[in-house]
């Protein structure tokens, strides 16, 4: 039983990270109907930005409080990824809006390759280790819960609350939802559609940067390939939860995290990704819109 609860906690932590990345996929899909395949690499970029900030802080300002260091890492990583995602939307996606559906998809894959190779060239192909930032561990009987897991879950929960508030309670979120439903009409009512879409990319990137920082902190290592496997898993989470649905993205992320850690605990760890994707396949067969996705209504 303790073992099970332990794995549940681990899965929850991992799932929070996937959920944060999945929101970026799902929001962009919701507003312009496109899968931003470069989003996984934005997540990876966030991890690297945090890593670099961490190294600078520890070499020049040794003894800086951990909380402050973490905050700086988060803020700078968010700025870097936001800028990057804003730029690729501006130069690579916006000119193709209104073009046939595959064009922006291919560009997104191109952007993904460009970014991961850029990091490979500038940062080197090897894994970058970081010393653990937070070491505190709590024991409840046989269950171990580390402070970093707690930080991850709390930061995720707080961000989701802020995010929910922005989307559902502010004019900005209203404009996003309106743009999602009828872009032309939103423009006619005075919503600046281009700016709204840009902001959506920036918001998704900021969440991905947080996830990247958390991932770095959790595993203690960053690699230029991180954009791929965790990125695809986050994408899977978005599809599993129902792409276009925000609660769906979080739910999907948590599920993927749980499946992954429980499978690794009870079955072969080598097949954990197979388990994840097999579940995705089942969901898509029996419920193609995902768990919380709304069925596409034919417009007349």
């Amino acid at each position: 039983m303790e073992y099970f609860i332990q794995q549940l906690l681990n899965g929850l932590t991992l799932g929070s990270i996937y959920g944060l990345v999945a929101i970026g996929y799902t929001m962009v899909y919701g507003i312009i109907g496109m899968i931003n395949f470069a989003h996984g690499d934005i997540f990876m970029l966030g991890g690297f930005a945090a890593l670099i900030v961490f190294l600078i802080l520890t070499s020049f300002f040794a003894g800086i409080p951990v909380a402050l260091a973490l905050l700086l890492m988060l803020i700078i990583a968010m700025l870097v990824t936001s800028l990057w995602n804003w730029t690729i939307e501006r130069v690579a996606y916006r000119p193709l809006r209104g073009s046939f559906r595959l064009a922006p998809l291919i560009t997104a894959i191109g952007m993904s390759i460009a970014l991961s190779n850029f990091i490979q060239v500038t940062q080197g192909p090897r894994n970058k280790p970081v010393p653990p930032l937070i070491n505190d561990v709590y024991h409840f009987g046989d269950i171990t819960f580390s402070l970093k897991q707690l930080v991850i879950v709390i930061v995720t929960a707080v961000l989701l609350a802020v995010f929910w508030y922005i989307v559902h309670r502010t004019p900005l979120g209203r404009a996003q939802r309106a743009t999602e439903q009828d872009r032309k009409m939103a423009a006619l009512l005075g919503v600046d559609v281009d700016r709204t879409i840009s902001i959506t990319f920036v918001m998704g990137a900021a969440l991905a940067a947080v996830a990247g920082t958390m991932y770095l902190m959790y595993y203690g290592v960053a690699s230029f390939t991180d954009g791929f496997t965790p990125g695809v898993k986050a994408f899977t989470a978005a599809v599993l939860g129902g792409i276009g649905s925000l609660p769906g993205a979080v739910l999907g992320g948590l599920l993927i995290g749980l499946i992954e850690s429980l499978w690794s605990a009870y079955f072969s760890i080598a097949y954990k990704d197979v388990a994840t994707f097999a579940i995705l396949a089942f969901v898509l067969i029996f419920k193609p819109t995902g768990i919380l996705g709304r069925p596409e209504v034919e417009k007349v």
């Binding site: 922005i166 900005l172 939103a186 006619l188 009512l189």
Partner: protein
Amino acid sequence: MASGTTTMSNDTILKVEHLSMRFGGLMAINDLSLEAKRGEITALIGPNGAGKTTVFNCITGFYKPTMGMITLNQKSGKQFLLERLADFEITKHAKVARTFQNIRLFSGLTVLENLLVAQHNKLMKASGYTILGLLGVGSYKREAAAAIEKARYWLEKADLIDRADDPAGDLSYGAQRRLEIARAMCTEPELLCLDEPAAGLNPKESLALNTLLRGIRDEGTSLLLIEHDMSVVMEISDHVVVLEYGQKISDGTPDHVKNDPKVIAAYLGVEDDEVEEVISEELEGGAR
């Protein structure tokens, strides 16, 4: 943007001059000129395919006219040449709002949110485009309260106040029509263009619509509407323009237009006596 090329008396809000719109070989509108007076309801009628919606699309920037000039004359005396503005600028600067033949509400948003989207620019300006602003720091709170107040005002007018928090998609057809008009009014237009607002309404809903439109006119917004429902047109219009094959065939008060032989011929075909009877009965019925 303002232009002084035409002299216009201040009671004209919209002046269309020599407007032509060609789609390949089809002349959808041919040298059309018309005027809409400030504070009046002007109706644009005509048989199917006469070019009414095309005129609307030219006025609201969806089409760039092949030829002609469309001048909007604001209360302040500012003039805009609409054919030179992009569609969102027409809403934002020239203060022209429109609705469509088919309903285009944000059906997933609540009724109130639909009206707040229409006040988006004002709210964003008040928030100073910052997260802190959106969270209620500075003038945002006051502005947001004012926006909700305005939305409530139009919901009262449109008789939708009880449905404010329902998703717009759950409203009945007639209520959705009224909500579209209320939403357009929240952009504070000087000229409101309605494309067949009464289409598909039952007589009771039609009556409610008439009341709403008159209320809008009495508050100083001029209306231009395309309508097939003669009971609506004859009942509420101050001025009627009749189109056929992209040209104006009649222009005047509802009574004048109704008795114009050209109009009768256009609507009925000259020979088909039976249809003529039915429609003229309807026209009379509407005028009562």
